[in-house]
Amino acid sequence: MAPVPIEGVLVLAAVLFTLGFAGVLMRRNIIFILMSIEIMLNAAGLAFVVAGSKWGQPDGQVMFIFILVMAGAEVSVGLALVLRLFHRFRSLDADAAGRMKG
């Protein structure tokens, strides 16, 4: 199979990262913000894997595994915080946390 052009993959990673970034800025629902962060992490991992594939080295894939581990830890703590926030304020509005004291 023909090798994939590296610019194409980098453009895809950039598009996905920008979409995730726009999602973080645009949405107020905290679950959507977490999902957009996942999209951004995934796009960063895609850029790592294509860089590793360019030189035929496993380092890019190792970095992707680390990103995967970080995403797992981040999403578990983030969703626990979402549950707490919802029990406390009865709302998924990210701005609701502004009412906390201290």
């Binding site: 679950i31 996942e38 894997v49 594939s53 830890a73």
Partner: protein, 171 residues
């Protein structure tokens, strides 16, 4: 241009666009899974089959199941959909969207202005990844295990019912 790659990237971009514009959380999650599957196909085309499998098993499997569980625990009704539609008015999203599109145009211009470079076209087998992971990156693996432990403890502590402040609130 590699046709399977073009198809997979178009699917990824369209489904990601749907993720950030849906009002229903479950619909957005399903689109996110499609997006992750198409990115996994791109990984496969790049000669990283191990990473493609990990993407499906951990991202589309475990992390998305976590999201679905939380959405089920929150027990959102139809009123959350109307609330979401209220939050997603054009005045809120046009500004950030325009700025993000400018940023994207800049990135695409930078990548397009470099010459025609392709990937090596050869597969990096999972064994090489394993040797790298437990050879030069051993310290990183140890740090990742500590991060996961911190994540477990943190999620347990935050998710526990009846912390002190909430009990005080109920009394």
């Amino acid at each position: 241009m590699n046709t399977p790659f073009v198809i997979a990237s178009v699917v990824a971009v369209v489904s990601t666009l749907m993720v950030i514009t849906r009002t229903n959380v479950v619909h957005a999650l399903l689109y996110l899974i499609v997006s992750l599957l198409s990115v996994s196909l791109v990984f496969f085309l790049l000669g990283a089959p191990f990473i493609a499998a990990l993407e499906i098993i951990i991202y589309a499997g475990a992390i998305m199941v976590l999201f679905v569980f939380v959405v089920m625990m929150l027990n959102l009704g139809p009123q959350s959909k109307t609330q979401e539609r209220m939050w997603l008015i054009p005045e809120v999203w046009t500004g950030p969207a325009v700025l993000a599109v400018i940023l994207l145009g800049e990135l695409v211009y930078i990548f397009a202005s470099t010459g025609g470079i392709t990937t090596s076209g050869k597969t990096v087998p999972a064994g090489d990844v394993g040797f790298a992971l437990f050879g030069p990156y051993l310290l990183g693996v140890e740090l990742a295990s500590m991060l996961l432990l911190a994540g477990i403890v943190g999620a347990y502590h935050l998710g526990r019912r009846g912390n002190d402040d909430e009990q005080k609130e109920e009394r």
